[in-house]
């Protein structure tokens, strides 16, 4: 309102006409200028290392020297012939798929619970978000301690409750170690998925749901034939994020099991770190990490499809 007083209405058109030629008014050019710094930073510092990652995977580069001997596909033939690598690839897929299925089941359930009105809802929502908020490396240490071979509180509770009388060496047995890692992944990702699904749930028009109730649809029918189909786009986003965060995570495996026991729980990220950084074989490490690329490309394409559908529909 104050602005209007400064410029009398009559000279307004003249003022804009006079100023039209400056950069501050040329929208397209100004847009480019404002966008350029952020764009350049990301292009240089993501693009260059990305290309370098691909180049390194075709080289025998080692840390310590800066030489760059080209070896063609040798790194790839070496790792594909390596049983450890194949196990690692399998682990990455298993951890990701199993944990994402569990996450989505839990998140859909949790979102349906959180949607209902009940006493203490805000507190519950706040506490549910904790696993996602806390730095993952610190949470991983808490879980390492929970799964401790001698002091595991889980074992004590199982025995005290009379559920299992034996002793579970969580991080000493390959199968148990896999269960432990998947547990940590699920624990960490389900709050995030819950928040996204909840946002989707509350975006479903109330009329649709009321219509379903009035038409006498049961809870399960409403869930499977009304809510879930409408949740699909937003659930896709949650799953895609979950896949990226789970399949590329280094810290949980690195800190909870260190890839053990007997290198049975390595994932691509931890093996790449072990060979590439600790072992100094940058070429092989880069080649191992590059196996994540197909996953990411697929995720990116699906994301774009979801975005485009939202564009067309919205």
């Amino acid at each position: 309102m104050a602005l209007r007083k400064e410029v009398p209405p009559l000279i307004r058109p003249a003022a804009t006409a006079l100023r039209r030629r400056t950069l501050a008014d040329r929208e397209d050019a100004l847009g480019r200028v404002l966008l350029a710094p952020a764009f350049l930073y990301v292009i240089v510092l993501v693009g260059v290392p990305f290309v370098l990652a691909i180049l390194l995977s075709f080289s025998a580069a080692r840390s310590g020297t800066l030489s760059f001997p080209w070896v063609g596909l040798r790194n790839f033939t070496t790792i594909i012939a390596d049983a450890q690598f194949r196990l690692t690839l399998r682990n990455t897929i298993v951890f990701t798929v199993v944990s994402q299925v569990l996450v989505m089941v839990l998140a859909t359930a949790a979102a349906n619970v959180l949607e209902a009105a009940f006493f203490g809802k805000r507190a519950v929502r706040m506490l549910l978000l904790l696993p996602w908020a806390v730095p993952v490396s610190l949470a991983a240490m808490a879980w390492t301690w929970i799964f401790d071979s001698t002091f595991s509180v889980i074992n004590w509770t199982l025995r005290a409750g009379g559920l299992y009388k034996g002793w579970l060496y969580w991080l000493g047995d390959p199968t148990l170690a896999i269960i432990a890692i998947i547990t940590v992944h699920v624990w960490r990702m389900f709050p995030f998925a819950t928040v996204i699904v909840l946002a989707g749930l509350s975006a479903i028009p109330i009329e649709i749901r009321e219509a379903a109730v009035i038409d006498g649809a049961s809870f399960w029918r409403r869930l499977f034939q009304v809510n879930l189909p409408l949740l699909l786009p937003v659930a896709t986003v949650a799953v895609l994020f979950g896949v990226v965060f789970t399949s590329t995570d280094l810290s949980i495996v690195y800190l909870v099991t260190r890839g053990g026991p007997y290198n049975s729980t390595h994932v691509l990220a931890s093996l790449a770190f072990q060979r590439g950084i600790l072992g100094g074989d940058l070429g092989q490490g880069a080649a191992i990490a590059l196996f994540l690329l197909p996953v990411l490309v697929v995720v990116a394409i699906l994301m774009l499809r979801v975005a485009r559908r939202a564009e067309v529909g919205g």
């Binding site: 410029v7 404002l34 966008l35 390194l56 808490a142 940058l282 990490a289 995720v299």
Partner: protein, 286 residues
């Protein structure tokens, strides 16, 4: 009528039971951090095989022993300082670049900007796991190995895409009419942005800055790759790596994890609604 009431009561109980179960699962590790951090050693290191000793509660009075040890004998405070320094520098770089970029994408660039916006967001999906090995070489060439500057340089690669996307969402949620009115009144586009839109976006900018900082605290991979000396670590590297390697002391470790997590958790909860608003405003066309 009574049968209906019973059904409703059962439903109610099921709802609370489910809410309780989810909450317990989410909170359990934090409770465990808390119990461990304040327990006497001889209360802590009792094998789980001893059925009479209940590990869930304090069997002896709580102690501040581990907390004292953490603050006095370890490099924890140095890690906190490093994290704050790196976080502050990254937040400044990020906001200087991401706020104008977010505005440009929301208002100025039209159709191609929308595509570019999605493109920038997709770079956020390129994970550290794919980039830490080439970065190890880049950082070595730049002579930044084992330096906090390496982290200051690299962290904006994920905070900028993230915050640009968030800011785009916040700017879109501000009605166009306000700046169009200002421009009719003689302001240039740039002046309208600076003097009219930015003040309205302050809370959005603040939210983006907070989340950039928490993203910095989340990182483990880059810190592990670049930093090797204990005095230069950040909290999320120092606690699991240096405390675990140098001292076997779960009490101090859990104390560190606890007092680092609490402020982050509080901040997250204060800002999560604005955060979701920004995220979905960016995703849904405004």
């Amino acid at each position: 009528m009574t049968a209906r009431r019973v059904v409703r009561l059962v439903k109610r109980i099921a709802l609370y039971a489910a809410a309780l179960a989810f909450t317990l699962f989410a909170v359990f590790p934090f409770y465990w951090m808390f119990v461990t951090a304040f327990k006497e050693d001889n209360d802590l290191y009792v094998g789980g095989i001893v059925a009479t000793h209940i590990p869930w509660i304090f069997n002896e009075p709580p102690t501040l022993e581990h907390m004292q040890y953490l603050l006095q004998e370890t490099a924890y405070l140095a890690w906190v300082r490093n994290t704050v320094l790196v976080g502050a520098a990254v937040v400044v770089i990020t906001m200087v670049l991401a706020v104008p970029a977010g505005y440009a994408l929301a208002r100025l660039t039209g159709r191609w900007g929308e595509r570019l916006g999605i493109g920038i967001f997709l770079t956020y999906l390129i994970p550290p796991t794919l980039l830490f090995i080439p970065f190890a070489r880049v950082i070595a060439v730049l002579g930044l190995s084992n330096s906090l500057w390496a982290l200051v340089l690299v962290y904006p690669t994920f905070t900028i895409p993230f915050c640009t996307w968030l800011m785009m969402g916040f700017f879109r949620s501000i009605p166009r009419d306000i700046e169009e009115q200002a421009m009719i009144d003689g302001y240039s586009r740039l002046a309208a942005m600076r003097k009219v839109v930015l003040p309205l976006a302050v809370s959005g900018i603040f939210t983006a800055a907070i989340f950039a900082f928490t993203l910095v605290m989340q990182d483990f991979v880059y810190a592990l790759t670049f930093i090797s000396s204990v005095g230069k670590m950040t909290v999320s590297q120092g606690i699991p790596v240096a405390l675990f390697r140098d001292v076997f002391n779960w009490g101090a470790m859990m104390a560190a994890a606890l007092i680092t997590s609490i402020p982050i958790a509080i901040v997250y909860n204060l800002f999560i609604d604005r955060f979701i608003a920004g995220l979905t405003a960016g995703a849904v066309k405004g």
